[in-house]
C-alpha cells in the first residue's frame, strides 16, 4: 500500500463524513451535543486542503498530516482523539514508501493505544474505541492468517460495524453521553459510527 492508497483512503473518509454529516450529528443529538458531524466534516475538509497544499510523499506523512490537521481544526473530544489516532499511525509508519498489511495492523493498534491513553476509556465505555479496537484486532488476526488484503480489511470493517452496533445497549461511561446515565442506553455512539465510516473508506481504498 503506497502513498496514493493512503491519500485515497483519507479522501474517502472526507467524502463519507460529508455525506453522513447529518446522520452523525443526529446520533450526537440523541446522547450528546449535536456537533459530531459538523466537527468531523470541518476537520476532514481541512485535511483535504492540507493534503492538496502539501502533498505528502509517504503513507506515514499523509497520516501524520491528517492527524495534526484534525487536532488543529476539529476541537471537541473527537479532534484530539482522532487526531492522535492518525498521528500514532503516521509515527508507526515513519517515512517508508510502502506499507504491508502487517504494518497497517501495527499502525491501527498504535491508534487504539493512543486513543486509550489520551481518553482513558476502555472497551465497553461506549466510545469510538468500541469500533476501533475490534477493527484493529480483526485486522491483526486476518493478517496473521495470511488473508488477502481486501478480505483482511473486510474483516476489520465488519468488526468495526459490529462493535459500533454493540454500543447501542451500553450505558456510556466516557464522553458527553455519560452525563445521561441510563438514558444513554439504546443509542449508537456517534464516534463509533464515524469509526465505521473510516474503516469502510479503508476497505474501499483497497478496491476489488
Amino acid at each position: 500500500m503506497d502513498t496514493r492508497f493512503f491519500t485515497t483512503w483519507i479522501e474517502g473518509i472526507a467524502k463519507a463524513v460529508a455525506e453522513n454529516r447529518e446522520h452523525l450529528t443526529a446520533l450526537d443529538a440523541a446522547i450528546g451535543d449535536a456537533d459530531h458531524g459538523a466537527n468531523l466534516d470541518r476537520g476532514f475538509t481541512a485535511v483535504r486542503e492540507a493534503l492538496a497544499a502539501a502533498p505528502p510523499d509517504s503513507p506515514g506523512k499523509a497520516l501524520t498530516l491528517t492527524g495534526t490537521t484534525l487536532i488543529r481544526k476539529v476541537g471537541g473530544a473527537s479532534g484530539p482523539l482522532y487526531g492522535t489516532a492518525f498521528r500514532q499511525m503516521g509515527s508507526v509508519l515513519g517515512s517508508a514508501p510502502d506499507v504491508t498489511p502487517s504494518d497497517l495492523a501495527t499502525a491501527l493498534e498504535a491508534a487504539v493505544a493512543g486513543v486509550r491513553k489520551l481518553g482513558g476509556a476502555t472497551e465497553g465505555d461506549k466510545t469510538l474505541l468500541d469500533a476501533l479496537a475490534p477493527a484493529a484486532g480483526a485486522l491483526r488476526r486476518a493478517v496473521q492468517n495470511g488473508t488477502k488484503t481486501e478480505d483482511a480489511l473486510d474483516a476489520a470493517l465488519t468488526a468495526a460495524r459490529e462493535g459500533a452496533r454493540a454500543t447501542i445497549p451500553l450505558q456510556a461511561r466516557k464522553g458527553r453521553a455519560s452525563y445521561l446515565g441510563e438514558r444513554s442506553i439504546g443509542h449508537e455512539d456517534p464516534g463509533a459510527a464515524s469509526t465505521v465510516l473510516i474503516l469502510a473508506a479503508l476497505r474501499d481504498a483497497a478496491g476489488g
Partner: protein
C-alpha cells in the same frame, strides 16, 4: 431554524467581530479566535485563560477584563477550542508569572487544553490548570468522565481573577480556583431545547408541558423528564440536589442563571425561592447574580449555582471587576 446569523459556518467569527466593535477594552484576534484584554500581557501578573465551546455567551469572552480573565478562546458552537487557539491565548497573556487555564470538565475541553498546556510548557510557559466540575446532576465516579463544569466557572474566573490582580503566585491562584470549585455546586432545568446553528434543528424535543431536569449547558438531554411544575417546585428540585451533595450553610454566593431564553422576571421569581430555601437551611444568600451568565443559545430554563463563601472568597468576589458582562468597583 430562525436565527440572527448570516451563515452557520461563520457564527463565531462574526460574533467576535461584533464584540471587538462593542468593547474597546478588548483586543480580538479574529484569525486565531482569541479575545484578549487590550492590555495583555500584564507583566508580573498570573495570566488567566479560559475557553470552551461557543453558545454560552457571555461565558467566556464576556468575562475578559480587569479582575477576571486575560483571554478567552471560543470554539465552534458547543465544541471545545482547538489547541492552537489556547496556545495563542496562553502565550499572549504570559507576563512572566505563568498562566492559569480554567477548564470545564468536558472530555473535549480537557483534552484540547492538555495538549495546549504541554506544548506551552515545552516552549517555557509555566501553566497550571483548574478543572471546574460543579454539576450535581451528573453522578461523580472515578470510572466516568465525571461531573460537568457549568455555573461555577463564573465564580472561579471572578475569584481567581481578583486574586491574580493582587500579584499572587500561579500556585496560589490555582489553589484558590480549586477551592472555589470545591465549594460550589450547580443544577439546571430546561423548559425548551436549543438549536445548534450547524445542526439546524433542536437537540431534543420537549412536550408542551414537559421539562428536562439536570440539563447541562450544551443542549444535551438531562437525566430525567418531568411534567412542568410551579417555579417554586422546580427551584426546590434544583436546591435539593445541591444541598444533598453539599449541605448548605453560612454565607453563600448564589447565581440564578438563565439559559439564554428566559425572561429576567422569571429568574427573579426563581431567585426568591432559592433565597427562601437557603434561609430554611440556615444559610444566607450573601451575594448573588441573577441573569444570563452561562447560556445554551436560546434555551429556556435556569440553573442555580451555590458557592459556600469564606471571608477571603467574599473579599475577592467583592473586588473590582471590569468586563463586558460583570462590572463593579470601577
Amino acid at each position: 431554524m430562525k436565527k440572527l446569523i448570516n451563515d452557520p459556518e461563520h457564527v463565531v467569527t462574526e460574533a467576535l467581530a461584533g464584540m471587538a466593535e462593542a468593547h474597546p477594552g478588548l483586543r480580538v484576534d479574529l484569525e486565531n479566535k482569541v479575545i484578549f484584554r487590550r492590555s495583555a500581557p500584564s507583566p508580573g501578573k498570573v495570566g488567566l485563560v479560559s475557553g470552551g465551546g461557543s453558545g454560552h455567551e457571555p461565558l467566556h469572552g464576556g468575562f475578559v477584563g480587569y479582575g477576571m480573565l486575560d483571554a478567552a478562546c471560543p470554539g465552534e458552537v458547543f465544541t471545545s477550542p482547538v489547541p492552537d487557539q489556547i496556545i495563542e491565548a496562553t502565550k499572549g497573556v504570559d507576563g512572566g508569572a505563568g498562566v492559569l487555564h480554567i477548564v470545564k470538565n468536558y472530555t473535549g475541553d480537557v483534552l484540547n487544553f492538555e495538549m495546549a498546556a504541554e506544548l506551552c510548557a515545552e516552549e517555557g510557559v509555566e501553566v497550571a490548570s483548574v478543572l471546574v466540575n460543579d454539576d450535581v446532576a451528573v453522578k461523580d465516579s472515578l470510572y466516568t468522565a465525571g461531573r460537568r463544569g457549568t455555573g461555577a466557572t463564573v465564580f472561579v474566573e471572578k475569584i481567581a481573577g481578583a486574586l491574580a490582580e493582587t500579584g499572587a503566585s500561579l500556585a496560589e491562584v490555582a489553589k484558590t480556583g480549586e477551592e472555589v470549585n470545591a465549594r460550589s455546586r450547580s443544577f439546571g432545568v430546561a423548559l425548551s431545547p436549543c438549536t445548534v446553528p450547524a445542526a439546524g434543528r433542536p437537540t431534543f424535543e420537549l412536550g408542551p408541558s414537559e421539562v428536562e431536569l439536570g440539563i447541562g449547558i450544551h443542549g444535551e438531554p438531562g437525566r430525567t423528564r418531568a411534567p412542568i411544575a410551579p417555579a417554586r417546585e422546580l427551584a426546590r428540585v434544583a436546591m435539593d440536589a445541591v444541598h444533598t451533595d453539599m449541605p448548605l450553610s453560612g454565607d453563600c454566593l448564589v447565581m440564578v442563571n438563565g439559559m439564554g431564553g428566559t425572561p429576567l422576571a422569571e429568574l427573579y421569581i426563581v431567585f426568591a425561592e432559592v433565597a427562601a430555601y437557603l434561609r430554611e437551611k440556615g444559610a444566607t444568600p450573601a451575594r448573588s447574580l441573577v441573569g444570563n451568565y452561562v447560556t445554551s443559545l436560546e434555551m429556556r430554563g435556569f440553573s442555580v449555582t451555590v458557592c459556600r463563601l469564606t471571608d477571603d472568597l467574599t473579599r475577592l468576589w467583592d473586588a473590582p471587576v471590569e468586563t463586558p458582562a460583570l462590572r463593579w468597583g470601577r
